[in-house]
């Protein structure tokens, strides 16, 4: 083999270990899961003994009330947390984008929740939500109010898991928004002041539109993440009471372990996977459109 040809293969040689690990650790399990979703498979059987049922698992799920309920919970959970987190995160970033003493400390404090392991967050909030010794109810009681059934009432439980998630993930949006704000051209903001814009108008007409590309990607990232949320809810409510907080990943885990229906669980996982892939593709498409627009503008400016 000539040196030139050997050189051409070198990159692939270097990529081979990573490709191998990906194939074993990622592609194989996914393929396995896709295959399993076409089976009526009980954990006591080997995969070879399971009966091939074609698309039955997929079709049946649409008439399974519990699955639909869980899908609904997931969708509303995702929508609610992402909206609240976006508003709070962007709002905080707009407020804290200034030179004040101690701002560095404050910023670090704000992003602390994000660094805590989700299981720990779940435990922490479970203690705080505790009906008798939790800090919320003790405080309410000492102020003369009725205690709130944080985790034992359906609607309250949903609100409680939303609060915990918002507490943990608002910082993520906050830091990305802050970075977007700080990379903003200062002179454009000054020009807006000279043009007579008030603080609100600058935020509304200059800052937010300029942050939009970052905000859209941030929202999509949060969307993907919140579809997959598991630990905090598992620790806080384990999906209850009833099915009020049973999000998809919990439902999948219970279908596999409690109901012992591996094929159905696999089909559910695939639905979730498809949903997430759609969002991811939307994100990639968006970035690609952005890139293309920038490239077109650059070309136009060079021509001009």
């Amino acid at each position: 083999m000539t040196t030139a040809r050997a050189n051409r293969f070198t990159p692939y040689l270097f990529l081979a270990p990573a490709a191998l690990i990906l194939a074993v650790a990622l592609m194989y399990p996914i393929g396995y899961m896709v295959y399993a979703s076409f089976l009526d498979w009980n954990p006591s059987q080997t995969i070879g003994e399971a009966e091939w049922v074609g698309l039955r698992n997929y079709v049946n799920l649409w008439s399974d009330a519990a699955f639909l309920e869980s899908l609904g919970v997931t969708l509303s959970f995702t929508a609610v947390v992402v909206v609240i987190e976006m508003i709070l995160g962007v709002g905080l970033a707009l407020l804290l984008d200034r030179e004040l003493r101690g701002m560095a400390v404050l910023r670090t404090l704000f992003i602390l929740p994000m660094m805590i392991a989700p299981i720990v967050v779940g435990l922490m909030w479970r203690y705080m939500y505790h009906p008798t010794v939790g800090i919320f109810n003790r405080t309410l009681k000492s102020l003369g109010f009725e205690p709130i059934p944080w985790l034992s009432d359906g609607s309250w439980a949903f609100a409680s898991v939303v609060i915990a998630d918002v507490w943990q993930w608002t910082p993520f949006i906050f830091i990305l928004s802050l970075a977007a704000l700080q990379s903003m051209p200062r002179s454009a903001l000054e020009a807006a002041r000279i043009d007579g814009a008030t603080g609100w108008q600058i935020t509304l007409f200059i800052k937010l539109p300029l942050m939009m590309p970052v905000l859209i990607v941030t929202a999509l990232l949060r969307l993907i993440d919140s579809f997959k949320v598991l630990e905090v809810i598992l620790v806080l409510t384990n999906g209850g009471p009833g099915l009020s907080t049973e999000i998809m990943s919990l439902r999948i885990s219970r279908t596999a372990s409690e109901f012992r229906e591996l094929g159905v669980a696999a089909a559910m996982s695939n639905y979730l996977l498809i949903l997430l892939m759609l969002i991811t593709m939307a994100m990639f498409t968006y970035t690609k459109i952005q890139e293309r627009r920038t490239a077109a503008q650059r070309a136009a400016s060079e021509e001009a």
Binding site: P185, E190, R193, I194, A197, T198, A296
Partner: protein
């Protein structure tokens, strides 16, 4: 159009004092250029005038109205920034009309105004584009257009041409000069480029370390600089400064140094005699254009080291003793490198400076 007065305006950033108390007046309808090396406080002065920086002390008056506490929007100013500062997400028409739209002016009026300004600046065909799709020169024009659309009483320019290439800069300079004639507005223009200052300014304010060194018409500053800094800063190629000392022979004052011995023009001699401090050591300032091949009775022996051809002019880098002297000549006068010739000095343009205070005598 107000008359703008800076009354002992001070500015510090933390412990750094950028402007010591500054007194400055901008007359109604005047085109004033603030010029100086970077860090001299000229941009800070402009930003304080715009309201983008607060003052640490003193007051600014528009006519008799104190304005230092007012927001930029209450000052009736428009500003052109060095990096243009266009709004990247708006198209050109939206960029230009932003202020009017904030002011809730009727749509028809806004469109008419934008079109009118775009027409004069020759950017009508760009109105639908985004800033990123424009070249540097076009963006510059749009920035100018945005300021013009405002119809403010005072226009501020913060080094508006420094991001352009040399050719475009010269072109825009001419257009600015035309604009200056066409518009009856207060204009304050900040630059570090002395050519821009000389060509554009009706009045030039030379600043250094936050202190106004001298202000006046370009000609006044060029011919009668008050100190070595102004003499060295304005004019290109830069003024030659040579150490010398004063002598008196047969009742006539002369200035001597290594390799030269020049008589003083009568007015200059009279000014030297008027001084009572018995100054002997001086710094001689000679503009490169004050030296020529024609004999003037005041000759300098110069050895040419390098000849820089600039088209119609040539700049010679010569030596007089151990000091370097620049000479500006017509290019048609071919000077051999290495040759030593006798050059005539135009004595009426000769300047003397006190080496301690650097003030002109």
């Amino acid at each position: 159009m107000p008359r703008i007065v800076f009354d002992k305006v001070e500015k510090s950033f933390g412990s750094v004092n950028v402007l010591p108390p500054l007194d400055l007046t901008f007359e109604t309808g005047e085109f004033t250029v603030l010029v100086g090396p970077s860090g001299c406080g000229k941009s800070t002065t402009l930003r304080i005038l715009a309201g983008l920086e607060t003052v640490s002390g003193g007051e600014i008056y528009f006519d008799d109205r104190p304005i230092s506490k007012l927001e930029p929007k209450q000052r009736d100013i428009a500003m052109v920034f060095q990096d243009y500062a266009l709004y990247p997400h708006m198209n050109i028409a939206q960029n230009m009309s932003f202020a009017l739209r904030l002011g809730k002016r009727p749509k028809s009026e806004i469109t008419a105004k934008v079109n009118e300004v775009a027409e004069t600046l020759n950017i009508r065909h760009l109105l639908d584009r985004k800033p990123a799709e424009l070249s540097g020169g076009q963006r510059q024009r749009v920035a100018m257009g945005r300021a013009l659309t405002r119809d403010a009483s005072t226009f501020l320019f913060d080094e508006p041409l420094s991001n352009l290439d040399a050719k475009l800069r010269a072109k825009m300079r001419t257009e600015l000069a035309e604009m200056r004639e066409a518009l009856d507005k207060n204009m304050v223009y900040v630059t570090h480029d002395q050519v821009e200052a000389m060509t554009l300014g009706e009045r030039i304010v030379v600043m250094k370390d936050g202190v106004v060194q001298q202000q006046g018409s370009p000609e006044e500053l060029f011919k009668r600089p008050v100190n070595m800094f102004v003499a060295g800063f304005l004019g290109s190629p830069t003024t030659n400064f040579i150490a010398g000392h004063l002598t008196e022979a047969d009742g006539a004052l002369r200035v001597q140094g290594t390799g030269f011995d020049l008589p003083l023009a009568p007015e200059l001699a009279a000014r030297v005699r008027d001084r009572s401090d018995g100054l002997r050591d001086v710094v001689v300032g000679i503009r490169p254009s004050s030296i020529g091949l024609e004999p003037t009775g005041a000759q300098l022996e110069l050895t040419t080291k390098v000849s820089e051809y600039l088209g119609s002019q040539s700049v010679l880098v010569t030596h007089c003793g151990d000091q370097e002297i620049l000479v500006e000549l017509e290019s048609s006068d071919r000077i051999q490198t290495g040759s030593t010739l006798s050059y005539g000095v135009n004595l009426s343009e000769l300047m003397l400076f006190d080496p301690k205070t650097e003030q002109r005598i």
